[in-house]
């Protein structure tokens, strides 16, 4: 579904991605792991065209999308949930969802129902300014907004960051439900959280793909966990 080959990305004069290769398959949740500053967020931003690659190729559904403007990439069927949730705090919760609508009203209504089923907490706050939501609700809104259109792939950046364990549990349930219909490429630092939802992993280190495989392999490999993330699964809260 998504293939990135030899991605090199610069932000100003800094050479952030220095050769990222990865593949996301339909029906799978793939997680990008790695230390702070390894290049995980930049990888997602590069795929979305927010930091276009200087070299390398991104193919989505068999077509090259690297070099296309962000709005065109989004319209090809890629939803983006940034690290800070990226919600519009001055808009209401409903407006945050409606702004993403690219289809007929009747179809959009069905998607809205699906989103509110997935995140029932949002229903109570539909007409409230999104800036008044809690951190967890903002994440739910951001993920919900990415689902307004039937995207084929979601890029989600550290959804569990700063959230209480009970909220993280809700997110785990929601993402496990989402991945039944939509492929997901997730960036996560919390290995405990990632292990509960991911099928495959890639480790990014110093802007390069260092390792990849199936999630159960990584969970058994304490040495790799310590080497690339400075943690091991026992030390990570869920």
């Amino acid at each position: 579904m998504l293939t990135c080959s030899g991605l090199h990305t610069y932000i100003e004069q800094f050479h952030i991605l220095q050769g990222v290769d990865l593949e996301v398959k339909r029906g799978e949740l793939t997680v990008l792991l790695g230390r702070n500053g390894a290049g995980k967020t930049t990888t997602l931003r590069t795929i979305m065209g927010l930091n276009p690659p200087a070299r390398g190729k991104i193919e989505f559904e068999g077509e090259v999308v690297s070099g296309l403007p962000t709005h065109v990439i989004a319209r090809r069927g890629i939803g983006y949930v940034p690290e800070d949730a990226g919600i519009f705090t001055d808009l209401t919760v409903l407006e945050n969802l409606r702004i993403a609508v690219r289809k007929k009203e009747s179809e959009a209504r069905k998607r809205m129902d699906y989103i509110l089923e997935l995140f029932p907490d949002l229903f109570k706050f539909l007409n409230r300014k999104a800036g008044n939501l809690s951190g967890g609700q903002k994440q739910m809104l951001s993920i919900g907004r990415a689902l307004v259109n039937e995207n084929k792939l979601l890029l989600i950046d550290e959804p569990s960051k700063g959230l209480a364990p009970v909220v993280v549990n809700n997110l785990v349930s929601a993402i496990n439900e989402i991945k039944k219909h939509t492929a997901v490429l997730l960036v996560e630092q919390n290995l405990g959280f990632a292990s509960r939802i991911s099928d495959k992993f890639y480790i990014i280190d110093n802007g390069k793909t260092a390792l990849n495989g199936n999630m159960p392999q990584l969970l058994e490999d304490r040495g790799t966990q310590r080497q690339y993330m400075g943690v091991d699964i026992k030390g990570v809260p869920n």
Binding site: H71, P82, F88, T89, D90, L91, I99, G131, R145, N149
Partner: protein, 287 residues
């Protein structure tokens, strides 16, 4: 007391006109991140065009329509030919918009001459209204009512339409708007011409309020900047409230000590910058 009421009404009327100038400046900066130093020239263009049209045709309504159209058309030309080449280049924007300001000001002088020209109040709106022994200018009341109606209409567009929703979202986080599949650049021309048309409308209405138009109208640009800084970049409501605040302060201070009016406004801006640098009603940051 009657002096205070008169000053207050004059202050609100002046404030509403400065707000019309500042609202576009604020929206243009908020959405497009372009600081348009030529914005005051559109106010001046509206004032000259409106006065010329009214004196030539005798129709105040026509002068408003043509003044607004002139601001919109010249704004669209400037955005397409000039501003669109310097998006994301802030130094380039400063230099090029200062250049556009000088060019427009000179063109206005070429067309209407360097001297101030008289701008009469339409007879239907001239005279005073006596309320409880206090005389109030009918034209100033008209300005307040007209500008408030425009404000309500713009607020309706901003808060009740998809276009308004995209502008408000884009003002806050343009990157995220793009990531939702919206080509935000396609809204830039519309917002720019909308902003310059509002400034021109302010200019058209300012002419009869001052009874003359002249190149000194450029000084309103400074007040426009102050209003945007105090109100918060990108905030329409903030621009309105701070416009009224500046209008009132200007009128009260000018009554006591005319030379200090601008200095007090600049001081007010400096204090707000120290206390709340993002402005009193700034549009929320990223989530």
């Amino acid at each position: 007391m009657d002096v205070f009421i008169t000053l207050t009404i004059n202050g609100i009327a002046t404030g509403m006109l400065i707000f019309l100038l500042a609202a576009g400046l604020s929206l243009i900066f908020g959405l497009m991140k372009v600081m348009n130093f030529a914005h005051g020239s559109f106010f001046m263009l509206g004032a000259y065009m409106g006065t010329w049209c009214y004196v030539s045709s005798g129709s105040f309504l026509l002068s408003i329509v043509l003044g607004v159209i002139s601001g919109a058309v010249v704004g669209l030309i400037v955005e397409r030919l000039v501003i669109s080449r310097v998006y994301n280049n802030h130094l380039g924007q400063v230099l090029i918009t200062v250049g556009v300001m000088m060019l427009l000001n000179e063109l206005i002088k070429v067309v209407w001459g360097p001297n101030v020209i008289a701008s009469p109040v339409p007879p239907a709106l001239s005279g005073l209204l006596e309320v409880g022994g206090i005389s109030i200018s009918i034209y100033k009341l008209f300005i307040i009512a007209f500008a408030l109606s425009v404000t309500l209409l713009v607020n309706l567009i901003l808060n009740r339409s998809r276009l308004g929703m995209i502008i408000r979202a884009g003002t806050q986080n343009p990157e995220m708007v793009k990531a939702l599949g919206i080509r935000i650049e396609s809204f830039f021309s519309l917002v720019f011409l909308f902003g310059t048309a509002l400034a021109a409308l302010g200019g058209v209405l300012m002419g009869p309020a001052q009874n003359q138009v002249g190149s000194y109208y450029q000084q309103y640009m400074m007040l426009g900047f102050i209003v945007v800084v105090i109100g918060g970049m990108g905030s329409f409501t903030g621009a309105m409230l701070s416009g009224i605040l500046i209008g009132l302060v200007s009128n009260y201070v000018a009554w006591v000590f005319p030379e200090a009016a601008m200095a007090v406004n600049v001081l007010l801006m400096a204090v707000i910058l120290l206390i709340k640098p993002e402005g009193l009603f700034s549009v929320g940051g990223k989530a």
